[in-house]
């Protein structure tokens, strides 16, 4: 049984648990499926330059700020920001709101992972073959025209509707998986950090084991060298494109899970004399190294997939030629294919033209870059089918994705849970188990709308509008709030009390000038880019004339309104709460009889 401190606040069993939780929160699905993609499209190794610059001037300072804040004030995000200044209480509320919204859709992504996981126990894997159509004369049409992996993802998993306005029905298999995922989250967060602290040992460390296994296996596959060369070949000219710098800054920012309030919650359970400066640098560096480490197996496997596709293309052409000209088998090999083609073109060009051979270009196969859910559920699953022992690899892969997502969910839920525990609204007599149960149940019920036919379109909307803009705003106000409202001198004294060292020049410069400036630039650039083109999405429509290409559609007005609402809702709390306190102060100053309660006068408030 845990022995709480005198103030009744739970604490971590040991420092390692705390560091693991922060790392687990920061290291998530984005490290596996967003960073390698960005590396690939932004000039390979050259992308690391803006990435590391953003890490040093934006990532580490903001991370240190949040960890120091939580440790010093020993409260969740809402309480902590209220303690900094009542006018900044809105920042905490905004963080809380973002954590709630992100938890909703993030767990639905884990639902998809779980669905694939429980389907990996079959032989053959269900996404490797097309089912037959109704009268058993041929393969299912939608599957035949696209691929079996696409069919399994869009039809058997999502049962996607062709339009975001067409909601479709609840997919019962997804509802079951969603319930299971929320049950798992409840199981692990049932008593706050007491239970997540135990679970994090597994969920934070297991992905590294699987990544290593994939690394070793991936490097042994044919085509791995091509994939890795493609990923890391630096193209320094790309650095002239401002888009690259913007992507690097946003990637660092979202990858470290800043501005969610979860990090503040985690560090608030620390003893006050913990060295938060070292922790911040450790977590940020481990996160970046994990991104790099994950991109190696990902790109080995993608290279393997590309070369297999290329060989398939060649083999199909070879068979057509052999059949047409009745040449002996194995007379044309992949190696002398080009010579043969040249020879036959000169002698029988009409016959060759009649065969309609596809041009096979390895570069084209490597260029098919995907990020996000498409990488995991379409590209990677296709590669796994080609590996020997595909069931085992599929199970390992999806368990790894699930662990990565689950440890991030812990941070999200902690960001929701800890402030609620401290709010006076929630009475002390409610047991923690009940509160976490209520949170999980409410989130599950709301998240049911993501299991509709149009659910994945909505998740893309949430991801683009909630998981991006509000975080930039919150982080900007965080830095400004600590540097200029709370004042760096005061904060410096607090940090010195905790770590025993004065804040050195690097922290002073970045907190005062560099980070806020960078955040402002990123925010403005982000908004400018969003406004430039009308928001559109790609829909999976079997009746589209260019099927299996996805159909480009524009969001209708009411959906756009929801997008704006989602982005604005958390941000609106910042001025709202400030205004509320301003009005309260003015009313109080008008009424001299009332005694102003000095609620949070001292910094040492527990």
């Amino acid at each position: 049984p845990e022995v709480p401190k005198e103030d009744g606040r739970p604490k971590w069993d040991n420092k390692f648990q705390y560091i693991l939780s922060c790392i687990g929160f920061a290291v998530g699905l984005g490290n596996v499926w967003r960073f390698p993609y960005l590396c690939q499209i932004h000039g390979g190794g050259a992308f690391l330059i803006p990435y590391f610059i953003a890490l040093i001037f934006e990532g580490i300072p903001l991370l240190h700020l949040e960890l120091a804040l939580g440790q010093c004030l020993r409260k969740g995000s809402i309480g902590a920001w209220h303690a900094i200044s009542p006018y900044l209480g809105g920042v905490g509320v905004a963080s809380w709101m973002v954590s709630v919204l992100v938890s909703l859709y993030y767990n639905t992504v884990l639902t998809w992972v779980m669905w694939y996981f429980i389907n990996s126990f079959q032989e053959p894997l269900p996404w490797s073959i097309c089912p037959l159509n109704e009268n058993r004369t041929g393969l299912n049409e939608e599957c035949y025209e696209s691929t079996a992996v696409n069919y399994f993802w869009y039809r058997k998993t999502l049962n996607i509707t062709p339009d975001v306005t067409d909601s479709g029905t609840l997919q019962w298999w997804l509802v079951l998986c969603l319930a299971t995922c929320w049950a798992i989250v409840y199981l692990c967060t049932i008593r706050g950090i007491e239970t997540t602290g135990k679970a994090i040992y597994v969920t934070a460390l297991f992905p590294y084991l699987v990544l290593t296994a994939f690394l070793i296996h991936g490097l042994s596959l044919p085509g791995a060298a091509e994939g890795l060369a493609y990923l890391f070949t630096p193209n320094l000219g790309i650095l002239k494109n401002p888009r690259v710098w913007l992507d690097a800054a946003t990637q660092i920012f979202f990858s470290l899970s800043l501005a969610f309030g979860g990090l503040i919650a985690f560090s608030s359970y620390n003893p006050p004399n913990n060295d938060c400066e070292k922790d911040a640098v450790t977590v940020a560096v481990v996160n970046s190294i994990t991104s790099l480490y994950a991109s190696i197996p990902v790109f080995s496997v993608l290279g393997f997939k590309a070369i297999t596709g290329y060989w398939d293309c060649l083999d199909r052409n070879i068979i057509s030629i052999i059949n047409e000209f009745d040449l002996p088998e194995e007379s044309i090999t992949r190696q002398n294919y080009t010579d043969w083609i040249r020879f036959l073109n000169s002698s029988n060009s009409e016959k060759i033209a009649g065969l309609k051979l596809k041009s096979c270009d390895l570069q084209e196969f490597l260029d098919q870059s995907v990020s996000g859910s498409g990488l995991a559920f379409i590209v990677f699953t296709q590669a796994i089918i080609l590996m020997p022992g595909s069931q085992a690899w599929a199970i390992l892969f999806f368990t790894m994705l699930f662990s990565l997502g689950l440890s991030s969910m812990f941070g999200n839920i902690e960001g929701v849970f800890t402030p609620l525990l401290e709010l006076q609204i929630v009475s002390k007599s409610i047991p923690k188990e009940l509160l976490s149960g209520i949170i999980c149940l409410v989130c599950f019920l709301i998240a049911l709308c993501f299991t509709l036919g149009s659910g994945s379109y909505w998740i893309d909307i949430f991801d683009s509008y909630v998981g991006s803009l509000p975080l930039l705003v919150i982080a900007f106000f965080e830095v400004i709030g600590v540097a200029y409202v709370y004042k760096i001198k005061r904060f410096s004294k607090d940090v010195k009390r905790m770590t025993g060292r004065k804040l050195n020049l690097y922290w002073q410069l970045t907190w005062r000038f560099i980070s806020p400036l960078l955040l402002l630039i990123v925010f403005v650039a982000f908004v400018t880019l969003q406004i430039q083109k009308p928001p559109s999405y790609t829909a999976w429509n079997p009746k589209y004339e260019h099927f299996p290409m996805k159909e480009q559609k524009v969001y209708p007005q009411w959906v756009l309104a929801i997008c704006v609402l989602l982005a604005a809702l958390p941000c609106i709390f910042v001025p709202l709460v400030a205004l509320f306190h301003l009005i309260k102060r003015m009313c109080r100053s008008k009424d001299p009889s009332s005694v102003p309660p000095e609620a949070f006068s001292s910094q040492e408030a527990d």
Binding site: I118, Q122, C177, L187, I190, R191, I322, E329
Partner: protein, 226 residues
């Protein structure tokens, strides 16, 4: 006489050659991919293999139509290429210079496809009869989908874990409550020490169960104060 015989003998193969040619009526093209199927164990396609093929076709026709009139000589092969592909027809020995209708041959082959494939150690994909499409095998589907079973296992484990944690939490809370109330009670009566005589607190002795012994009670000064 001899010349007539010679003429008939030379006409028959020529006539037979007329029956078997690419795209002839009731002729089928066959394509074998032996190296693809067998790799290093591939056999070479020679006259013996052709003989086996003719025998298999005759066998198929006999099994299908149940009449024992089809002979190996009724099956004619032509245009054998290095690919290993060729055309064949099945002639009808009862009627002169005619071929068995393609539909019958097709049906016969479909019925015996397995046997024909096994004779050559090939499969539907590597021994192709170009005009005869293969029927697709229905997928094997277990009675309960496998994923439901896995799902059931996972869910039951999770529910067991949740129930265990909730119950242990409630027990912990009860224990803590009991301890805290006991501690509270002790703190309230801090000054009054509960003296116990033979396991019974003295207050109850005074009030209920005990009787004061009159012999000793009279002399109060001999008692020391507590």
């Amino acid at each position: 006489m001899l010349r007539v015989l010679l003429l008939t003998f030379s006409v028959v193969p020529i006539a037979c050659a007329e029956l078997c040619k690419p795209d002839a009526q009731n002729a089928f093209k066959v394509r074998l991919s032996i190296k693809t199927a067998l790799g290093d164990n591939a056999y070479a396609w020679d006259a013996n293999e052709e003989y086996l093929f003719k025998a298999m076709m005759a066998f198929a026709m006999r099994r299908y139509s149940s009449k024992t009139t089809t002979q190996i000589s009724n099956v004619l092969l032509c245009n054998v290429t290095d690919r290993v592909s060729f055309w064949f027809v099945v002639t009808d020995s009862s009627k002169n210079m005619t071929t068995v209708p393609g539909s019958e041959v097709e049906a016969a082959i479909r019925m015996n496809r397995n046997r024909i494939n096994s004779a050559f150690l090939l499969s539907d994909k590597t021994l192709q009869f170009l005009k005869i499409s293969t029927t697709l095998a229905p997928p094997v589907e277990p009675s309960t989908p496998v994923w439901l079973i896995v799902f059931g296992v996972v869910l039951s484990l999770i529910v067991a874990g949740i129930v265990f944690l909730i119950v242990s939490g409630i027990q912990q809370r009860k224990r803590k409550n009991k301890e805290s109330t006991e501690r509270e009670n002790l703190e309230e009566k801090g000054e009054v020490t509960i003296t116990i005589e033979n396991g019974i607190p003295c207050e109850t002795l005074d009030l209920k169960a005990g009787h004061v012994n009159g012999v000793f009670a009279a002399d109060d000064e001999r008692f020391s104060s507590l």
